[in-house]
């Protein structure tokens, strides 16, 4: 960050996402949500071990798409990316830590557990 302090940066300049990017993202979001909701109604999927990981994976994709394209972090100054991902990582680690502390998640460690 230190390197570009004196000159004006590239705030909102070059390659902005275009209308075609926007509607493609919208379609993908729509389709993923449709898949998620239908998975909920497919017993074979809903009861298998893959269900929770697949749901988390699909919603992570949606989350990332909105953040990267609609919130245009992909095109913006990298400062904004760190201002968002830093706190997001702390928040995610805290959440995971709390899940372990309240025994919602656990790791088997032989004698210790």
């Amino acid at each position: 960050m230190a390197s570009h302090s004196a000159t004006a940066g590239h705030a909102d300049g070059h390659d902005h996402p275009t209308w075609s990017t926007y509607w493609k993202i919208a379609v993908i979001l729509f389709v993923i949500t449709a898949i998620e909701v239908s998975a909920f109604y497919i017993p074979a999927w809903e009861t298998s071990w893959i269900y929770v990981p697949s749901m988390l994976f699909l919603s992570t994709i949606k989350f990332t798409l909105v953040v990267m394209y609609y919130m245009h972090l992909k095109y913006d100054h990298k400062l904004f990316r760190s201002l968002f991902t830093g706190p997001l990582i702390v928040a995610a680690l805290t959440l995971i830590g709390l899940m372990f502390l309240f025994s919602k998640l656990s790791i088997r460690l032989g004698l210790l557990s």
Partner: protein
């Protein structure tokens, strides 16, 4: 006076109202991203609590299972997935309308000849669509909450009720703030028209709006879809 002097920077104020900034970025945009980072911790705390208390309520109604109370009355699983799926679609698509509104404000000056260009270039239209979809989401939530209360689940009933209403209520309050914000922008658009010089203000509102949307993406999966 000593001979050694420290060089001063070239004049920092060029044009009107534009002060020197280190990165050439607008302060407001840095502030909103900092705020959004902070909001991550806020929702992480709410979501953690919901998850910690999942399955710990000593009595029903429950989100995904039916419950029979001591008197033999049966309370079905309370979450209404079809209705919430619909409201989720509405909120996701409102984000789409929001990016179009921002693009319309940014490209206000571009000439628009075809009908399609005029539609895409209308910031009023897309702000209206976003606002109405946001309001529709709030309508769905109001419907959901009243239905739950009718079915016997209030914020006081059990741990699920407390943590569910607080989590989704906090999100709903954020949506409500966003709707007010967007309506204020719409009012300005009607009063004097939003142009490229307002793009940053619209962008900031849009960032907030999309953030509220991604929070709902997480809530929808963790609360509604995963049993």
């Amino acid at each position: 006076m000593t001979a050694t002097t420290m060089p001063a920077a070239h004049d920092e104020s060029h044009g009107h109202g534009h002060h020197y900034t280190t990165l050439g970025l607008d302060n407001r945009k840095i502030a909103i991203w900092t705020f959004i980072g902070s909001e991550c911790m806020l929702f992480a705390s709410l979501i953690s609590t919901y998850l910690v208390y999942k399955g710990r309520s000593v009595k029903g109604p429950f989100p995904h299972e039916a419950w029979t109370d001591p008197s033999g009355k049966v309370f079905p699983a309370i979450l209404d997935i079809p209705v919430t799926s619909a409201s989720t679609f509405v909120l996701l698509m409102s984000s789409f309308a929001m990016v179009l509104a921002l693009a319309a404000v940014q490209n206000k000056e571009l000439p628009k000849t075809t009908f399609g260009e005029r539609i895409l270039g209308s910031s009023k239209l897309w702000l209206w669509v976003t606002c109405l979809m946001g309001t529709a989401f709030l309508g769905f939530q109001a419907y959901e909450f009243t239905a739950f209360i009718r079915e016997g689940l209030t914020i006081r009933t059990n741990l699920f009720g407390s943590s569910f209403f607080t989590l989704t209520g906090f999100h709903g309050a954020h949506v409500a703030v966003g709707v007010c914000w967007l309506f204020s922008l719409l009012a300005i658009d009607y009063k004097r028209g939003l142009g490229p010089s307002d793009a940053l203000n619209v962008d900031i509102a849009a960032l907030y709006w999309h953030f509220v949307d991604v929070v709902w993406i997480v809530i929808f999966t963790l609360v509604y879809l995963i049993k």
